[in-house]
């Protein structure tokens, strides 16, 4: 077998040198009745070309060559070949967690750069080496707020990604956290009137997403002021990280939980992605996850090490800030390289293109009779529209034209049927936007 570097005679040699005659002798500590006598029922073995064939066949069964207007937490953005080439270098790809710092300065230096970039982008003071994804980063941010305030009540905007809220609920229900949801107004933003001081006085965190699930930007400074006035923290989730190319970062938030997928990481049917937690320096000891810190060796050379490990599971065990161990290091590296390539001006330009294309798409769609904007608040590259007919029906028709239609809000918000969130990024050509709008118009003109 091509992954096994031993010849049959070498196996015999090694067995002989241990003083055993057969490999079975090395498994006698397993009770006999549990030792398998027959090979497992598994497909294969396949040669390399057969493996490729299998996966190519699977790829052909998906949406290759379709244009998509889906956002909803995962975004089709430009990626760079250079970044993908670099993360395939064996020294990055096949390297272990950098516990032995002298032998892993490549990984540790890159983590330090990632932490720096995340602070610069989010307007926060410290960021960790990554979490699994945005949804678990948000959950851990809420748990962090609970530890920091010693309060059990959490106010979560309904306009936070439904799946993120579901994950939070899964974790929270066993930890005695009380999650209360707050609605939205006509602007699509959090209903600030629903934030009562007497409730906030026992609230650990107010949780919002910006741009939110409807695509609308929240008023972060005002929300922070209201939360802080009652001793609550403001936790802000960000699913569309490219928005930070032109959108003001949530600097007034206490903890930012971001999904970094938009920074050059392919959609890959849901993962792997890269979660980010960024916060104030004063909260660092309650942060989950790994942190790379700068230091020196005896000769005064700069180097980096994993630090403040007393927060983590391998040291503190049941008293750790989190159980997280393996995170998303390679994709934090991918995001780091991507951001270095796209750079200061490039990220801004990319964000501007997203805004422009989304506004163009919105104006084209709003020309269709019966299609109306849902919310009045400002949007980046996702916006919500109301349609005269069922989004499910429209999307089924669009699929036949190799167009993946927008997210049907009615599936997650029963009060928002016939409404959808459309996402347009810099990767959607104008001609495709026009084709999409023409298709929607045609579908809506068909007799019922």
């Amino acid at each position: 077998m091509r992954y096994l570097p031993k010849s049959p005679s070498e196996r015999q040699e090694m067995l002989a040198s241990i003083g055993t005659r057969s490999i079975e002798e090395l498994f006698t500590s397993i009770p006999e009745k549990f030792r398998l006598r027959a090979p497992l029922d598994l497909p294969g073995p396949l040669s390399e070309s057969e493996i490729i064939q299998y996966f190519q066949a699977r790829a052909a069964e998906n949406a290759r060559g379709y244009v998509s207007f889906l956002g909803a937490g995962v975004y089709q953005h430009l990626r760079s070949v250079a970044a993908d080439a670099l993360i395939q270098r064996g020294e990055f790809l096949t390297s272990y967690t950098p516990y032995q710092a002298e032998f892993a300065q490549g990984t540790l230096t890159a983590i330090f750069e990632f932490q720096t970039l995340m602070c610069q982008i989010t307007g926060q003071e410290v960021a960790n080496a990554s979490m699994y994804d945005g949804s678990t980063a948000l959950t851990e941010a809420v748990l962090m707020a609970e530890r920091l305030t010693s309060r059990r009540h959490v106010l979560v905007a309904r306009s936070v990604h439904p799946e993120y809220r579901q994950v939070l609920h899964t974790y929270a229900k066993n930890l005695g956290l009380e999650i209360e949801e707050i609605g939205y107004t006509a602007s699509g933003q959090l209903d600030r009137a629903a934030l009562k001081p007497e409730t906030l006085a026992r609230t650990a965190a107010v949780v919002v997403q910006s741009p939110n699930f409807f695509g609308v930007l929240e008023e972060i400074p005002a929300l922070a002021e209201v939360a802080h006035a009652s001793g609550a923290l403001l936790v802000t989730a960000i699913t569309e990280a490219v928005s930070l190319g032109i959108v003001r970062p949530p600097a007034e938030a206490d903890i930012v939980a971001m999904e970094g997928q938009a920074f050059g990481i392919p959609p890959s049917y849901g993962g792997p992605y890269v979660g980010v937690i960024a916060t104030r320096d004063k909260f660092v000891r309650q942060m989950p996850g790994r942190l790379a810190g700068q230091t020196t060796d005896a000769a005064g050379n700069r180097g980096f090490v994993l630090t403040l490990a007393t927060r983590e599971q391998h040291i503190r065990r049941e008293k750790a800030t989190s159980n997280i161990c393996t995170n998303e290091a390679l994709y934090a590296l991918a995001a780091t390289i991507h951001l270095c390539l796209i750079g200061k001006e490039g990220l801004r330009e990319q964000a501007l293109q997203n805004l422009a294309k989304a506004r163009f798409a919105q104006s084209e769609l709003e020309k269709i009779p019966g299609v109306r904007r849902v919310f009045t608040g400002p949007t980046f590259n996702e916006f919500s529209l109301e349609f005269p007919r069922s989004v499910k029906m429209i999307n089924a028709e669009l699929l036949r034209e190799k167009i993946i239609g927008p997210f049907a809000l009615g599936t997650q918000f029963p009060e928002l049927t016939k409404r959808a969130v459309i996402c347009v990024t810099e990767t959607t050509p104008r001609a495709e936007i026009e084709r999409f709008a023409a298709a929607v118009r045609r579908i809506l003109e068909k007799p019922v």
Binding site: S17, N62, A104, Y132, Y269, T295, N327, R430
Partner: protein
């Protein structure tokens, strides 16, 4: 700016280190940044441009990001390529890290993960155009169920620790459905730190139980510990000493008699795949680490995946959605799961990692047993050859890993960390130091099946040599490593005054 090029005439700074070389003095990317440089261009905008301040309001717009890098493509390639040369990696040589299973990461897996039609798919797109993705998930589930001998699977958890949490949540939900979720989970003192940390997040109380003199579960006293208030025992098998729990059937029986469940941490599955199945020896629920046993790359600390496999009784409680095959043969994500513990992360899982694990499994097929046999052979070969030089605290049959201690070398003031650091000078990554906690001065060695006899022999020679050095010239070992770009780094200073980001001067 960059750390100064060391003076070639200065002996202190240059002994054994290639510091003067340009690739060894690479600074941070921010230190190479200059206004106007860029590494990526966008196609021109094909719709009318929009002024963000007008469109969003000036309160919602930002200035350009302060300190953000401005560098060219060549500088990025050089920077990260140079950084990569400071790393050790499986592609370079053995990582004898116990319980980490650092095996070869097959390159075809990288190729298929990047295919157009797989890397490009959106998790919310309709099932009709996701049949390829869903079949990959379903096929992997079938393989993992076959390997573990279990009945139900979830591929959602993003890592082993998250798998542990998911399994514990399923246990809780099951016990709740039986009338009483109970309060405690038993954890042996040899357990990985994620185990107790996960228990706490699941809302349970940790009860640590001491291993017996053989480093195994104290089955004689287990009956006392398993009260009606114990939900489960979390067990790693083989243990973190690399030893199979010989009385596993009895352990499972004791738990089941009291209505408690047996959770298995599958981190050491590399000793079992194809040889035995946890589902056969009494495990109710377990996780696997795909970035260990199933070859998906470590990438410096992730991504991973921690699928959970369970017995039928726990099936109703699987996280939602569940990947199913419908009667008509098509695949779907089933959201109609009223007893589910809920969702543990957005979307269906770390698909790219799951895909790689399937590619690995397909490469071996039923021959996966050979990998397990080679892993156990390598560990025993290394053990036999190192026994004359290092203390073996638990003289029990080793499976895929062996744990020595630094007891002999300690008499000369040399400890496990020193030996580990000196191993770097021989071109090997250190073994796992100071774990498991039940072995003071632990040296946990797991070669995996990816090591040839030659590589094992080189490792043995290196360890033998260090043992001799520890005896004759202990200071050489205590001040190692000597051959890396940086010497031992001051971790105390790093924690005392943390500097966790770069800032402009």
């Amino acid at each position: 700016m960059n750390p100064k090029l060391t003076d070639l005439d200065s002996p202190a700074k240059n002994v054994g280190k290639a510091r003067a070389h340009v690739s060894q003095n690479e600074g941070l990317i921010f230190e190479q940044s200059a206004p106007g440089k860029r590494g990526m261009e966008l196609p021109p905008l094909d719709v009318p441009a929009i002024d963000p301040a007008k469109a969003l309001g000036s309160q919602h717009t930002r200035d350009a990001i302060e300190g953000f890098p401005e560098v060219s493509e060549i500088e990025v390639i050089r920077h990260f390529t140079r950084l990569s040369t400071w790393n050790y990696a499986i592609d370079l040589g053995m990582y004898p890290l116990g319980s980490c299973t650092m095996k070869y990461n097959p390159r075809v897996n990288e190729f298929v993960a990047r295919l157009d039609g797989l890397a490009t798919e959106h998790p919310e797109q309709p099932a009709e155009v996701s049949q390829g993705c869903l079949r990959i998930l379903h096929d992997l589930q079938k393989c993992l169920l076959s390997i573990t001998g279990m009945d139900a699977a979830t591929l959602q958890p993003a890592a082993g620790a998250q798998g542990e949490l998911t399994g514990l949540l399923m246990i809780r939900a099951y016990l709740e459905s039986q009338g009483n979720p109970r309060h405690k989970v038993l954890i042996p003192d040899s357990a990985h730190g994620t185990n107790p940390a996960s228990v706490v997040i699941a809302g349970y109380e940790v009860q640590n139980i001491k291993s017996n003199s053989r480093g195994q579960i104290d089955t004689d006293h287990l009956r006392e510990f398993v009260t009606d208030d114990v939900a489960a025992l979390m067990l790693t098998n083989p243990s973190t000493l690399g030893v199979f729990e010989e009385r596993i059937a009895e352990i499972a029986a004791i738990l089941h008699e009291r209505g408690a469940l047996l959770y298995m941490d599958g981190a050491n599955m590399n000793a079992l795949a194809g040889v035995t199945r946890p589902g056969d020896f009494g495990v109710d629920v377990m996780h696997l680490n795909l970035h260990k046993t199933f070859s998906t790359p470590h990438g410096g600390g992730g991504p991973g995946a921690g699928p959970v496999l369970a017995k039928k009784i726990l099936e109703p409680f699987l996280p939602v959605p569940v990947v199913v095959q419908k009667p008509d043969g098509t695949y779907a994500l089933d959201h109609n799961r009223p007893k589910s513990v809920g969702r543990v992360r957005a979307f269906a899982g770390n698909f790219g990692v799951l895909l790689r694990a399937l590619a690995y499994t397909l490469a071996y097929g039923p021959g996966i047993r050979q990998a397990t046999e080679d892993a156990v052979l390598n560990a025993n070969y290394i053990r036999k050859n190192l026994e004359p030089y290092f203390d073996l605290p638990y003289n029990l049959p080793s499976m895929h890993e062996v744990v020595f201690s630094d007891a002999r070398q300690k008499t000369k003031g040399v400890n496990t960390m020193d030996i580990a650091k000196r191993l770097i000078d021989y071109g090997f990554h250190p073994y796992t130091t100071a774990f498991p906690l039940i072995v003071p001065g632990a040296m946990m060695i797991e070669p995996t099946e990816s090591e040839s006899k030659q590589e094992c022999d080189l490792f043995i020679d290196a360890m033998r040599s260090i043992a001799a050095e520890a005896d004759a010239t202990p200071d050489l070992v205590k001040t190692a490593p000597h051959s890396t770009r940086v010497g031992r780094l001051d971790e105390v200073a790093a924690a005392r005054k943390p500097v966790l980001r770069w800032k402009p001067a």
